[in-house]
């Protein structure tokens, strides 16, 4: 009997392969998950986009549940995401901060004044160094931090109303509920 079982081995191996490929169809090979989740957010200090004389730093995001959205005017998906961000800001439930990544200051300011500004404040990361510290590899990316300043979630790609309803808002609510 074992003699015959031997000939089934190729079929079994193929079965495993097929199962793997089937699973692979629902995965996205381009997503790079962040190793920073569960770790304190990287320290930074940048000049503010709106007012170069003031700075935005990590301490401004600490002490409350905050969202950092990485965006740029040259990024097509960020334009698509912008409406969703405006709606999110209007709910009043979030502290939304922005990181303007590798952009041009005047274009970015014009962009916000023309399309609306959902952010409480924006850091201007001209050379992308801060982005590298946050593990940014493609805009838009959105990070959610808890009160203690620990990164709890990273969303890669533009935010959609569905993502906001199903992922972001519930997470914010649970983080708010966490004891100080």
């Amino acid at each position: 009997m074992t003699r015959y079982l031997r000939y089934l081995v190729p079929l079994l191996l193929f079965g495993l392969l097929a199962a793997l490929l089937l699973r692979g169809l629902s995965l996205d090979p381009k997503l790079v998950p962040s190793p920073l989740i569960g770790k304190p957010m990287p320290a930074f200090s940048l000049s503010r986009l709106e007012d170069p004389s003031r700075t935005l730093s990590d301490s401004d995001l600490r002490g409350k549940v905050s969202i950092l959205n990485v965006w740029a005017t040259w990024c097509v998906s960020c334009r698509a995401e912008h409406e969703v961000l405006l709606q999110l800001a209007r709910t009043g439930k979030v502290n939304l901060f922005g990181l303007d990544y590798k952009d041009e200051r005047s274009s970015a300011q014009r962009w916000l004044s023309r399309l609306g500004n959902p952010y409480s404040a924006n850091g201007f990361d001209e050379d992308g160094r801060v982005g590298i510290n946050w593990g940014v590899y493609g805009t838009p990316e959105t990070f959610i931090m808890d009160r203690k300043g620990i990164i709890r979630h990273k969303h890669i790609g533009p935010l959609t109303p569905e993502v906001v309803d199903k992922e972001i808002l519930p997470l914010i609510a649970s983080l708010e509920a966490e004891s100080k």
């Binding site: 996205d28 090979p29 381009k30 790079v32 998950p33 962040s34 190793p35 920073l36 040259w74 990024c75 097509v76 998906s77 698509a80 590798k102 050379d127 992308g128 160094r129 590298i132 510290n133 946050w134 593990g135 590899y137 493609g138 805009t139 838009p140 790609g157 533009p158």
Partner: protein, 161 residues
């Protein structure tokens, strides 16, 4: 989805797209030829995350340019290879290493091929040895048959004479 398509388009042209005016080829100058070699080899062992199948050395993407600059500056500051790779892995995860790191979870990749080869060679020897055993048995069958034939022929000759 659009972003992914944009990335894919970027990659389809091997990052030859210049979204902004960037130098496609830069010259990083080191005082020491050995350092320059170390830089080149280090940068070819790191992955470009935007293009996802090119090393930092080959990719012309914006992020690759920035990361190369970062590596360059760290090397000028005297950091070792491990410090540079640790810096990047902290921020981007193991994925940024073009070679999978050597740790228990990646033993499958590093030792897998050799395990498969050893098993295959063992199976080969086993089947060769088994074949020889059968051969020896078959010969004795054949010998027996020849003996019978020889016997028949001799009895046939006897009958004729």
């Amino acid at each position: 989805m659009k972003k992914l398509l944009t990335l894919l388009l970027l990659c389809l042209l091997f990052g030859n797209t210049a979204l902004q005016a960037t130098t496609t080829l830069e010259s990083y100058r080191f005082s020491d030829k050995q350092d320059e070699q170390r830089f080149k080899s280090l940068v070819s062992q790191l992955r470009c995350l935007v293009c996802q199948n090119e090393s930092l050395a080959d990719s012309d993407a914006e992020l690759a340019h920035d990361l190369r600059q970062e590596v360059y500056e760290m090397m000028l500051a005297g950091k070792t290879n491990k410090q540079v790779t640790d810096f990047l892995v902290q921020r981007y995860g193991d994925f940024v290493l073009y070679n999978p790191p050597m740790k228990p979870s990646t033993w499958l990749i590093w030792f897998g091929p050799f395990v498969v080869l050893v098993i295959a060679v063992l199976l080969l020897f086993r089947s060769l040895r088994r074949q020889r055993a059968v051969t020896q048995q078959a010969i004795s069958d054949e010998e027996r048959k020849r003996l019978q034939q020889a016997l028949q022929q001799s009895t046939g000759k006897d009958a004729q004479s």
